[in-house]
């Protein structure tokens, strides 16, 4: 009989859940700890069903006490467990930031290399659901600033599925940013888009006229923009940074060397962000490859307002990317 190959699509949410489930099954030292991860089914239903499968000892609901439970996760990692700590959204991560900075990221160094902290902290984030200023922060740049952390950004379904497993191989603290706006987004898992490490950036789409460098929610937006640009004869490369700390300098240099023009897309506020860092790296490592100044499209310097039209105007949209690229290549 002829085997019919079916291409299966899954949501970003299910990809995250599969990654989590797999990690829990593989290693019984892995446990999930966070607000509403169990009985509520996960604030965004990512951990739905896991309580039934793994029990309350491994899918631990915790009280509202971000500093306390993130710190406890760090302690559990020190004590030999493999905790995955979920901070419901990045907006609440600030309450835990002291634990992350002064314990997770620092203990190895202060102890002269004796104490490693293999904790994984998952944080959902993103803008675009009209949640207003306090619930629409983009703190990737803050975390990416912290020496001692590895910071990952899940911009595709492939990374949603596999990044957690790789993070759990690390000896050092890893922070993973997941994007709520993409949770319901369906896609196939493309073999050629899977990256089996958390060191490298990934060219999601090859192109020759200009490189868009981005991460997180910017990746699919950039790919969509690239499709539209192809229609007007502009062949855009899209580099997904994936790893915000440490940044993959080789991949950045390679794309600049290939297209000689760079636009960086970031939802976070423009000043002092990841885009600024990438720009500086290009100056340091690939300046003479540039045909034009590096440009950035980033978040407006304003707490994100509630109304949709103002929220949309606060961050780069696909149309903005298309327009910007056209201008940059003179079309």
């Amino acid at each position: 009989m002829h085997e019919q190959q079916t291409i299966e699509k899954i949501t970003y949410r299910d990809a995250l859940r599969q990654g989590l489930e797999e990690a829990m099954r593989k290693n019984d030292k892995v446990f999930l700890m966070g607000e509403d991860v169990g009985r509520y089914g996960g604030a965004f239903a990512v951990s739905k069903g896991l309580l039934e499968e793994f029990g309350a000892d491994r899918i631990m609901d915790v009280p509202l006490s971000e500093s306390g439970f993130v710190g406890a996760g760090i302690g559990a990692a020190l004590g030999g467990m493999r905790p995955v700590v979920e901070v419901m959204t990045v907006n609440f991560s600030l309450l835990a930031l002291d634990q992350v900075v002064n314990n997770a990221a620092t203990l190895l160094h202060m102890s002269g290399g004796q104490l490693n902290v293999p904790v994984v902290i998952r944080i959902s984030c993103g803008i675009g659901r009209q949640l207003a200023a306090q619930h629409s922060h983009s703190w990737e740049p803050i975390f990416a600033h912290i020496a001692g952390l590895k910071v990952l950004s899940v911009g595709t379904h492939e990374d949603a599925r596999y990044m957690l497993g790789m993070a759990l191989q690390e000896l050092d603290p890893v922070v993973i940013f997941e994007y709520t706006a993409m949770l319901n987004h369906e896609s196939e898992i493309h073999e050629d888009q899977i990256v089996r490490d958390i060191k490298k950036a990934k060219v999601r789409r090859g192109g020759k006229n200009l490189s868009i460098i981005t991460y997180g929610a910017g990746v699919y937006k950039a790919l969509e923009a690239a499709e539209k640009l192809m229609g007007v004869g502009i062949d855009t490369e899209v580099l997904d940074l994936r790893v915000l700390r440490p940044l993959d300098i080789d991949a950045i240099r390679a794309t600049v060397t290939k297209t000689h023009r760079v636009l960086i897309i970031e939802e976070a506020w423009k000043s002092v962000g990841v885009a600024a860092e990438v720009t500086a790296l290009i100056m340091e490592h690939a300046f003479y490859e540039l045909d034009a100044p590096v440009e950035r499209l980033c978040g407006a310097e304003v707490p994100i307002p509630y109304p949709k039209h103002l929220e949309d105007a606060s961050i780069p949209q696909t149309e903005d990317i298309v327009d910007k690229v056209k201008k940059m290549v003179g079309k």
Binding site: L64, Q130, L131, A132, H135, Y306
Partner: protein, 332 residues
């Protein structure tokens, strides 16, 4: 320190016609506003998060009776009812929920961030427990300036697990500042029930270690809440010290607009609805002959009209121009 006008009968949890009508009207207005907000949410006029106060009305209404217009009020994201009782009009609230510039926060804040400085209503804070330290500081400022006002701070039982709760209680007693901490214990923090959040579930006992005067009260009974709040406020005004009031209540609806409610049974919700603050109070007023069915009907009609007008106002409201996006980041 200012004197709160204390009416003796209210101290004993009794009520006359006028006051009964007023309490009932306030609770019913909150419920009508919330029901309408839910409707407008399903029509996608209101977006983002929308946390409704249905079932908990007696708490805001009871406590607010004890405050003067000079006192400060700080709330969580579940604050539409508090804002309304505080005197922000339903239309300003509805327009804010729509995101129109006619709203009480010019549309910038939405449902979770209602503000009105003229009413001394300081939000609408969506970071759980984030406003407790603010309340301590506002009370400290009042104390330093010898204003004699108090600061009322509403928050959930989930918030009482946060470090900021504990730090704030300690600071408030240490500084001896006039804060009324009102814990709205609706038994759930999103889907996490009280017993999974607190080892000590008699939350008022948390006051002991901090040396703060504390009581718990039936938050489904508006007169009981009012009485307890008046007593607390009297104490605060007299001593200048903080007070911790726990109101045990229940949220009927989802945490925000939608959740699967996997964390509780339908029976449990039904049981609590039997203690509905509006229904039980209505029954009491009727039984005592303080109000007639006809008066209730008239009241319902008036409220409905007010809420419908609020929707009309919000609908007619305008969007702030995009060019103004970067406004209000720094003071002029």
């Amino acid at each position: 320190m200012k004197e709160t006008p204390v009416i003796e009968s209210k101290q004993r949890g009794q009520v006359d016609h006028n006051h009964g009508m007023e309490l009932l009207r306030q609770m019913k207005s909150i419920r009508a506003l919330e029901d309408k907000a839910a409707e407008m949410y399903s029509k996608m006029k209101i977006r983002g998060f929308l946390h409704l106060y249905v079932g908990e009305e007696a708490v805001a209404v009871g406590v607010m009776q004890s405050l003067t217009q000079d006192d400060n009020v700080l709330c969580t994201y579940r604050e539409h009812g508090h804002a309304l009782v505080r005197g922000i009009s339903a239309r300003k609230i509805m327009a804010e929920m729509y995101g129109k510039q006619e709203g009480c926060s010019l549309g910038r804040g939405g449902s979770m961030h209602l503000f009105d400085k003229s009413k001394k209503f300081f939000g609408g804070n969506a970071i759980v427990a984030g406003h407790l330290p603010l309340a301590v500081g506002m009370a400290l400022a009042d104390k330093k300036q010898e204003k004699g006002d108090i600061t009322a701070c509403f928050f959930g039982e989930g918030a009482a697990a946060e470090g900021e709760f504990h730090e704030s209680l300690n600071l408030a007693t240490l500084f001896e500042v006039p804060v009324l901490f009102v814990c709205e214990n609706n038994r759930y923090a999103m889907g996490t029930a009280l017993q999974y959040t607190h080892h000590e579930q008699n939350l008022e006992k948390k006051g002991v270690g901090y040396g703060i005067e504390a009581t718990a009260v039936d938050g489904m009974n508006v007169l009981a809440v009012e009485k307890a709040a008046r007593k607390a406020v009297k104490y605060i005004r007299k001593t200048g010290k903080p007070y911790f009031l726990v109101c045990n209540t229940y949220r009927y609806r989802a945490h925000s607009m939608f959740d699967a409610e996997l964390y509780r049974t339908k029976e449990e919700v039904k049981e609590w609805k039997k203690r509905d603050p509006i229904q039980t109070f209505t029954d009491q007023l009727l039984k005592q002959g303080l109000i007639t069915e006809k008066q209730i009907k008239t009241m319902d009609k008036e409220i409905e009209k007010e809420i419908d007008e609020a929707v009309d106002y919000a609908e007619a409201g305008t969007w702030e121009p995009v060019e103004d996006l970067e406004k209000y980041v720094y003071s002029k």
